[in-house]
């Protein structure tokens, strides 16, 4: 497994490079929007990746509440973290494209608003994980993830109704897309997925290692009470790390 990681890393780097070439050089220029449309090859794959990761987070959260497996919880945490990163990319690239094309940075359109609310919910999820003790965080965070998943359809419908009452700038719905653009889009998505997988994997390894170290330290300080100074006194760095968590 450890040897597979660098191989996958090199492969992903190559794929990302190829995808950039495809998106910037090979893909045809869009007729009305021009070159700014190329941001589409980053915006859409990031969105798909983020939604996929949030879905993984939901499944892992439900599975954790049922099975109480700490590894599933680590997966939930990691997918939420990487998902927030990709969702941020979506929310940043969107306005950059919208400004020249729609003439505005932002509008309270149904898709934009739902994505923003999804991002807000998952940021609060990460905050909750950060602010709660490691023993309680998994169950609390899993409950929040389920609440978030229930919330999103309601957000979608409410905004959809709210906005159909007020006319908005027309979004390029419908219309057909050049097959070459499709190909580039899918190549980019594959590259992004590999990249996301790689990030999740390394983050997952880091997280499981951190938990093992934490357990070992807890055990050590429990046993060390009778026999001498605890880990914090012998190694001040441990105490610093703990308070900084």
């Amino acid at each position: 497994m450890k040897r597979l990681f660098p191989i996958l890393a090199v492969l992903t780097a190559l794929m990302l490079g190829y995808a950039v070439y495809q998106a910037l050089v090979v893909a045809p220029t869009e007729r009305t929007m021009g070159d700014v449309q190329r941001i589409f090859y980053y915006h859409v794959p990031s969105a798909w990746t983020a939604f996929l990761l949030f879905f993984v987070n939901l499944v892992a959260s439900v599975a954790y509440l049922v099975k109480r497996n700490p590894k599933v919880d680590a997966l939930a945490m990691v997918s939420a973290e990487v998902g927030v990163v990709f969702c941020t990319v979506v929310l940043v690239t969107g306005p950059i494209w919208a400004r020249p094309v729609w003439g505005i940075w932002w509008t309270w359109d149904v898709r934009l608003t739902s994505t923003l609310v999804l991002w807000l919910i998952y940021v609060s999820y990460l905050l909750l994980r950060r602010f709660s003790d490691s023993a309680q965080a998994p169950a609390l965070a899993a409950a929040l993830a389920i609440f978030g998943a229930l919330d999103i359809p309601l957000v979608y419908f409410s905004i959809w109704f709210f906005r159909t009452q007020h006319p908005q700038p027309v979004i390029g719905g419908g219309g057909s897309i050049d097959p070459r653009m499709w190909r580039v889009l899918l190549i980019n998505w594959m590259a992004f997925l590999c990249f996301a997988l790689l990030m999740c994997w390394s983050r997952y390894r880091l997280e499981t290692m951190r938990r093992e170290v934490e357990e070992a330290q807890a055990l050590e300080s429990l046993l060390g009470d009778d026999r001498g100074p605890s880990a914090e006194i012998r190694n001040p760095k441990v105490a610093l790390n703990r308070s900084g968590q």
Partner: protein
Amino acid sequence: MHKQSFGGGDAMSLLSSTTRGTITRATLTKDIRLEWRSKDALNSMLFFSLLVVVIFSLSFDPLAEESRRIAGGLVWVAFLFAAVVALNQTWARELRNQVLDAYRVSPAPPNALFMAKALGNFFIVSLLEALMTPLFIIFYNLRALGPAWQLIPIGLLGTWALVVNGTFFAAISLRTRSRELMLPLLLFPISIPAVLGMVAGTTAILTGENSAHFWIVLLLTYDVVFTTACLALFEKVLEAE
């Protein structure tokens, strides 16, 4: 102990259905009596929303037509922030003398406790709204152009939407560091569709331009979905260790 000697699922459910109502009622009465004696939450909430009314009315100084457009948003934002005061102290009271731990090890059903807390908060926040609404009407010269009676279902459903999730997230934030800060951070993102429903519904009634039916249905759906979710997941939160 008796519960185990009964054995079988039927006996368990029989026991819990009779005790559930008693426990809910006892906790609810206790909380309301405590609040009635101290009036801590109610006073600070009332004063807070009064400040919101005064500050916004002063800084916008709206005409009657403008105030119809902005009042829905102002009223609900004021109530939302004020409700956080009551919600934050819901569970904090039970931490003293380890009441919550005692509850956890007792055979009492967790949902009974949750319902009592949610109903108690609903009562207090509704009382706040009943007291503050006349003031809003006076300061903003409000007169609804749509069917005003529809504000009642919007008020009741909207308050329950805030309070049921608020009680749940207060139980979550109780387990975190800096718990007072954590509650709004968790509650507000999830409450966005409910707040939109309350604000848009109220504005629709005040301006009389649109029908508020969709928003009432939305709030009802929100309430049903999240009350079910709270009842299903509260046990997991109470026993998270």
